[in-house]
């Protein structure tokens, strides 16, 4: 059995590396989730996939699938593709590369308001209208929403679905547009969304990483990696080499999309924060 598995890995990775023989780079991606990706290939994950494919001397072949519950199960793990360009480093259902960026939740405000909010402990958060991203699973929330409700900041929160309006060109942009329009005074938004959509608003917006970055046991910053199937060691090695070699080019892409980054903090998300993205524990009998 082991011998069979090993030979499959060899065949696949050989085809992957010798891409001159026209094996495309098979990527699963959300067709409508800027700034990450869309079907017109306008997202930064599309750009990074292009870079990777060029390096491998091949082209990208996409499987489009909304990145919602069941995304990995229906795509990467079902064999529809071989690579997902952006996933948290600690996701347990897939094997992830070394992280290629680390971002953080940020406070978004209008520059002309001069609010200068940096911390969840800022007293102004008790009286302002505060936009947060809402998820919908039982007990689940965006880390800033948890941090605020822990502090009793509740009645002035306005929720924006993390899915956004999927009929629009940029579903998750609503929460940032709400700040620009003045519907909310401040919003706590995942950095890559905030940076990209803030730059696209006519109104100048401030973007400030939330603090504390680890709020008790709640992480507000996360490492992002590429992902392959759990047993796909050969491909993982190829991707890790690519990420190391093309670090500068990848950073230029992230800069072009205004993705706010924070320095990597080794091991923090596992040891100091939550149980990471671990989902293997079989306890609970």
């Amino acid at each position: 059995m082991r011998a069979v598995a090993a030979s499959i890995v060899v065949v696949v990775s050989a085809a992957f590396i010798h891409a001159g023989t026209a094996q495309p780079l098979r990527v699963c991606s959300d067709p409508n989730n800027l700034p990450f990706s869309n079907q017109q290939r306008e997202g930064f994950e599309n750009r990074i996939a292009d870079l990777l494919a060029r390096d491998l001397g091949t082209v990208v072949e996409y499987t489009w699938w909304a990145q919602r519950r069941g995304f990995l199960r229906s795509t990467l793990l079902a064999g529809l593709c071989d690579v997902v360009i952006g996933l948290p480093r600690d996701v347990e259902m897939a094997r992830t590369t070394r992280p290629y960026y680390r971002s953080t939740y940020v406070f978004v405000t209008r520059k002309d308001r001069g609010l200068r909010i940096r911390s969840f402990d800022d007293a102004a958060l008790r009286r302002l209208r505060v936009g947060v991203q809402v998820i919908g699973d039982d007990g689940a929330n965006s880390p800033p929403a948890h941090a605020l409700s822990r502090r009793g900041i509740i009645s002035n929160l306005i929720g924006y679905s993390v899915y956004g309006d999927y009929t629009s060109k940029s579903p998750p942009s609503l929460i940032v547009a709400a700040v620009a329009r003045g519907d909310v005074d401040v919003a706590a938004v995942w950095g890559p969304l905030a940076g990209y959509f803030a730059a696209a608003q006519g109104e100048p917006l401030d973007i400030v990483p939330v603090s504390p970055q680890i709020d008790g046991d709640l992480p507000q910053a996360f490492d992002v990696s590429m992902a392959v199937r759990p047993n796909d060691e050969a491909r993982l090695a190829v991707l890790n080499r690519f990420l190391q070699r093309r670090r500068a080019a990848i950073n230029r892409i992230l800069d072009a999309y205004h993705v706010p980054r924070v320095p990597a903090v080794s091991g923090l998300s596992r040891t100091n924060a939550v149980s990471g993205f671990s989902r293997t524990d079989e306890a609970g009998q």
Binding site: N33, L157, P219
Partner: protein
């Protein structure tokens, strides 16, 4: 506020005038029955035209050719593959020699000709719902069935359309779109037709939708009225006729004031369960889903009108009373389960009541005229609350079981799917028992877990479910609502996720998630017969009189739904938190059954 309410109602009523009064239902009306139950309990017709058999939702068939003796000779007469693999939760309908079945997504409606050998397909209607709707549905892409009236079959599609299809030709009479999948809305419930209106509701409490019940004109699909379950009284259709029994439901605009800030705008309270109707009182009864998408600490207050039971005027939609089963729900205890309308002798007087085996694990007996809870007894192991305070009309909270983020809370019973989920019970006026398909599940809220969706990392509680005391995950219970006790029960390995039918032959039928379709003695619980179907059963059995004058029993087999998603959705059971934590309790289901939808019709030799 009141003025606005009156004006908007007047507009709605004016809009109702277009219906042709002659366009009335032609089929048999329920015949009166005797004994201790309501006249609504039994329908004389051998057909099965609505999900609950009668408007009282008893799921009692008075047919008695199949008896406790003869049932042992029951065998399959017809099988039919639907061609679909997800959870088959619908009840088949039988009208004038034709059987109608609705599949899970893509919600194909089949008409099978029962007058011909092998029940061949007469026609099929394919509504072709948007594929993207599958990514929105919380818990498998199920459909709970259709209803017949006025020569048409009415049902909902996952992408929020209500469809009226001509029952003879299979051609659509009208199609209306009532919600938007891009806002997290889907529709999975079976409609009920009351007089000239078809009542439908939306799903998606987890997605931040604002729940509603909508009445459509059966002739045109035009909206007659819509009642929301959060927000101002005028949206909830609360006016001068609203007389809740308990004081905590009295006040102005509680659908706003029992929420912080504007949280009510995304408050949940969807309608994806069952509706009953009492023609004497002209009231419809239905429950509302859990509040969401906010965590409970973000929505201090009672969160009205979520997770409770409404009685409304069937013509105008005006609220008449509300019973708040789970104010400020902590555990995802949607209150959408069936209301079984019966008249019972309680304390020496006949009372018009409704029976509700609820998610929270209590069997409620509620006066359906006033909304007073007469009794509420646990029918499964309950730790999440310490009982129901009948004087105040609300649960007695258990602080020790309150989920707090970052804190581990063990042994919350029942788990989120409740002592019983949507799978409907049946009531026999012959035995006086309610037959409850139950879960025996508890759950732990574990520490923070990080996750990722739509490009965005988030954190939440790690929910794991497992078998309650005794180790069995399901139980089939006969309950005496007058004596307020369990009469007998059958322990089942898996949650009993099928509906029930009980017959005039005193036989009760239900299915198990590992595919057994069972007949038991309605009086003693003795197992009389069983048949292994091709897949796990999460559907609803029916009993009907065929064109040949013989009694048949029909059931859709095809595992899925929230509990069966580990098979229907190929979930990895090593991930115990998949299917919102249900996968942990179902790790052995993939070994016990495989997916695939098949109709089975059983009859005597």
């Amino acid at each position: 506020m009141r003025a606005t309410f009156v004006v908007s109602l007047a507009v709605l009523i004016a809009g109702c005038g277009r219906i042709d009064a002659a366009n009335r239902r032609g089929e048999a009306t329920p015949a009166p029955s005797t004994s201790r139950t309501s006249t609504r309990a039994a329908a004389g017709s051998g057909d099965w035209i609505r999900p609950g058999k009668d408007e009282a939702s008893t799921r009692f068939s008075d047919l008695n050719q199949i008896t406790r003796d003869s049932v042992r000779q029951l065998g399959p007469k017809v099988t039919f593959s639907t061609g679909y693999l997800r959870g088959h939760e619908a009840a088949p309908l039988v009208v004038n020699g034709t059987m109608y079945i609705v599949t899970p997504f893509p919600n194909v409606l089949y008409a099978l000709d029962l007058t011909k050998p092998g029940a061949p397909v007469k026609w099929k209607y394919e509504p072709k719902p948007l594929a993207a709707a599958q990514g929105v549905a919380c818990c498998d892409v199920v459909n709970r069935g259709a209803v017949y009236a006025d020569g048409a079959i009415f049902f909902n599609t996952l992408d929020n359309r209500t469809v009226a299809v001509d029952a003879s030709t299979g051609k659509p009479r009208w199609v209306v779109t009532l919600g938007d999948i891009n806002k997290g809305e889907t529709m999975t419930m079976a409609p009920l037709v009351v007089k000239d209106k078809v009542l439908v509701g939306n799903s998606g409490g987890e997605m931040g939708v604002r729940g509603w019940l909508t009445a459509l004109r059966t002739g045109t699909g035009e909206i007659a009225w819509r009642a929301y379950h959060t927000g101002p009284d005028r949206d909830v259709l609360i006016g001068s006729r609203f007389k809740p029994f308990y004081s905590h439901a009295r006040g102005t605009d509680l659908g706003i004031h029992t929420w912080p800030g504007e949280a009510w705008k995304q408050g949940g309270g969807s309608v994806w369960g069952w509706i009953s109707y009492d023609p004497a009182l002209n009231l419809v009864y239905y429950g509302t889903g859990n509040p969401g998408p906010w965590n409970h600490e973000q929505r201090p207050g009672d969160n009205k009108w979520t997770a409770g039971l409404f009685a409304r005027d069937a013509d105008t939609g005006e609220a008449v009373w509300f019973y708040h089963s789970d104010p400020h729900d902590l555990f995802d205890y949607d209150d959408v389960n069936e209301s079984v309308l019966v008249d019972l002798s309680i304390g020496g007087a006949m009372r018009k009541v409704l029976l509700r085996p609820n998610r929270d694990g209590y069997l409620y007996v509620i006066d359906r005229t006033t909304g007073e809870a007469l009794s509420a007894d646990p029918f499964v192991h309950v730790t999440s609350t310490q009982g129901i305070d009948l004087k105040r009309g609300r649960p007695i909270e258990n602080e020790a079981k309150k989920p707090v983020l970052g804190k581990v809370v063990h042994q919350i019973c029942p788990a989120a799917p409740g002592g019983k989920d949507w799978q409907p019970s049946a009531y026999s006026p012959r035995t006086g028992y309610l037959y409850i398909p139950a879960n025996n599940l508890c759950m732990d809220f574990e520490a923070l877990e990080a996750n990722y969706i739509a490009g965005t990392p988030y954190v939440g509680a790690n929910v794991r479910m497992y078998a309650g005391p005794g180790g069995n995950r399901g139980e089939f219970i006969a309950w005496d609502p007058v004596a307020r006790r369990k009469v007998w029960s059958i322990k089942e390995q898996f949650p009993v996720w099928s509906g029930v039918v009980v017959t005039g032959g005193d036989v009760a039928f239900y299915g198990t998630m590992d595919g057994w379709f069972k007949a038991v003695d309605a009086r003693t619980g003795e197992q009389l017969w069983r048949f292994k179907t091709g897949s796990g059963i999460v559907g609803q059995p029916i009993s009907y009189l065929g064109p040949d004058g013989r009694q048949y029993i029909a059931i859709l087999s095809g595992v899925g739904g929230w509990s069966g998603a580990v098979v229907a959705g190929d979930l990895d059971t090593r991930d115990g938190t998949a299917a919102l934590g249900f996968a942990n309790a179902m790790t052995d289901l993939p070994q016990a059954t495989s997916k695939g939808g098949t109709l089975y019709i059983f009859g005597l030799p």
